[in-house]
Symmetry: C2
Subunit: 422 residues, 2 copies
């Protein structure tokens, strides 16, 4: 029987992997690079290469303005509906629009204005900071009676479920959390937390940026009210690709997009001088969408749909568990801490390792080892596992390279400085 | 001497045109197509084809996340500064961000909040409707004491300068207008109108969507406070390309972006939990920019800088005057009206013709004549003149085709229906 901690074992897992062939659907310019940052920027699908040549050179270059009537104007809704299939939303509940932060602003402000007697937004300190900034801006805008309550995680890893439950009260308009948090990959029980908010009459807005395409969810069954998320991580939509927003069907007429624009206008090409909101989700659109970046999202979603979220989640859990098993044996004694939950139900698809020398180790992995994770201040290295294209052998190799960096002190060649990181 | 109303004369004008060679810098997939809609979507620069292949296939596909540190993160400021060179702004006064409407929302709301004693926004009924929608949304948000006053053009063509002057008072926080208006191409005197607002202590925000790259301006010399604009018309930045925003240097610390996000955070990669605004213009950024659509903007700007705005404006005026001369002789008697100012100083770079059958004539031009202008309800055909690639012969041909459509009643084959138009 093969040693569970050998490269051969990793290779045997790859041979048994039913999703292994999907790797060949992505551009891999440098096969020697172990890319474990798909949780920041997903790889480029090969289908996107052909699509973007066509979009740029034929649709823009050749068809010019006519392309708006040949697929462009419907693209945000069409691609949104495909994301909806992935996340368990109904058609007409998800659209592509703006950036994640702008979408959070629109939906959170709408949620507060729809509940004038409630003044509190609750979130946690594991949420992505940009979300907190937007919420703080909203409260500053609405007046001093509004505030954001940031509930603290007990350990910087797990979500503060009990404290959240206690904090949600009848002054709470909105609870907003990252479904999978960006540092530790802790994953909230979507239905349970939504229910907590609903019990107090509050709305819940999920940030799905690290969850869409990484964990299996069903927005409908979880009775989710509102959600936003980015498309450039596990959805492989391209750098900074426009975000998506979700508004449950029955809530759509009750909420008002504060950033009114012509894409949300009924009969926009009538050019009426007074805003008359479009029906349904279109109301939550604002300006003209960036078409190159919008259309680039579609092939990545199609790959996920083809693979199936249940299968992807199963492989993701197997791969992150495998990483943790290797961590326990190879890294735990080298000053690392596991900053990601061991319980698979509470874990997204990346692994965070803490280390006092994390920044330098990250530098050595990138520059000396051809392993590309990412670094999050002050002391976290995140290893993103993207089951569409990450192999078990890459995970094995990444752990062994990390071990080698520390054992051979390769990271000491890097000065601990406040370098740029993404 | 050549007949001024002959094709040969048009050809002779092309031969004398010092900018004629710029046409070869654009993709022209169908040389038979007379494209007069560069005021809606500019043509594709050839340099953009190569750039987008590189950005997609190498920067995203190969360099992956590392590209953020290899040019992506600086792109909005870098490209903004190039637009600044074109518009007479200082470095650090223009950046690429979001959509035009989102930028209007950010800057107009910031302007109102900075002047709490003033409650009025003044605009005109020639402004682009999306701008009015955003302003109406802002007033609804701020409360019943706030309102938008929409001053009416005397004739639907010319800006209501006198009425504007009378309307601006000490309750006016903001005057916001399109510098070149989208239907008639009427062009305001930027410095004079700005001065009118300043005399009453109000701020002025210009929408430069139809002006950037079409008229020669100097934001600094006009003492402009705030501006926004799109990049996909005369700047040739690609379909729905992200917009730009301008905030004069001394106003930057006085205004607060209501949509706070991590791109506007000081030391964003510290991931602090409290918003601390970045210095300067960066504060007005919000979320992650769509990189494919953002980078595609740059080659078009470079072509304009190479040609020079003064030269482009000179050719544009010559071309629109030539169009009007042909109109007077060939079209005026066929039921058309000239809905664009005859005075060059008051005219941008497109010509609007009214006609009771405008929609059907537009359809016949597109489908039978290979001439592509655009239609604006209820009865306007807009012919966009883009001096970087529009030839005099194309203008001649477009006018003669329009004449032929009406004389031969080709438009009567099209039913007058409420078809989709862009």
């Amino acid at each position: 029987m093969t040693d569970r901690f050998s490269r051969e074992y990793a290779q045997s897992l790859d041979q048994q992997d039913e999703l292994a062939s999907f790797r060949s659907r992505f551009v891999v310019e440098d096969p020697g690079l172990i890319y474990l940052d798909g949780n920041s920027l997903g790889r480029l699908p090969k289908a996107t290469v052909d699509l973007m040549r066509n979009v740029t050179e034929h649709q823009w270059g050749g068809r010019l303005i006519r392309s708006w009537n040949e697929g462009w104007i419907e693209a945000p809704a069409r691609i949104g509906n495909k994301i909806g299939q992935l996340l368990g939303a109904q058609p007409g509940e998800i659209t592509i629009a703006d950036s994640t932060t702008v979408n959070l602003y629109k939906l959170a402000l709408a949620a507060l204005r729809a509940q004038p007697g409630r003044h509190k937004i609750i979130t946690d300190d594991l949420n992505f900071p940009s979300d907190l900034y937007a919420l703080q801006g909203i409260c500053a805008l609405l007046g001093p009676e509004y505030h954001v309550q940031v509930v603290s995680s007990p350990d910087g890893i797990h979500g503060p479920v009990d404290t959240l439950a206690a904090a949600i009260d009848d002054d709470t308009a909105l609870v907003t959390l990252s479904h999978v948090v960006f540092k530790s990959a802790y994953t909230y029980d979507m239905a349970a937390i939504t229910e907590l908010a609903h019990c107090q009459g509050a709305l819940l807005l999920w940030d799905l940026s690290h969850a869409a395409g990484s964990v299996d969810m069903n927005l409908g069954r979880a009775h989710t009210d509102l959600a936003i998320g980015c498309t450039y991580k596990y959805l492989n939509g391209g750098p900074g690709a426009p975000a998506f927003l979700y508004v449950r069907q029955d809530l759509q007429p009750l909420l008002t997009n504060p950033i009114q624009g012509w894409m949300g206008q009924a009969n926009m090409f009538d050019f009426g001088l007074h805003y008359a909101r479009a029906e349904g989700l279109s109301h939550f659109l604002t300006g003209t969408p960036p078409i190159l970046s919008t259309l680039a999202i579609e092939p990545g979603i199609e790959l996920l749909l083809e693979a199936g979220m249940a299968q992807l989640r199963k492989k993701s859990l197997q791969q992150t568990a495998y990483f943790i098993e290797l961590y326990d044996r190879e890294l735990a004694s080298l000053g690392f801490s596991l900053n990601t939950p061991r319980d698979g139900d509470l874990r997204g698809s990346h692994i965070s390792l803490g280390h006092p020398d994390a920044w330098r180790i990250d530098q050595a992995l990138i520059n000396d080892m051809q392993v590309l994770p990412d670094f999050r201040k002050p002391d976290n290295i995140r290893f993103g596992i993207t089951p569409l294209y990450t192999s078990f052998e890459e995970i094995y190799e990444a752990v062994m390279c990390t071990k080698r960096v520390v054992e051979e002190q390769l990271h000491l060649h890097y000065s601990q400085e406040n370098a740029k990181v993404t």
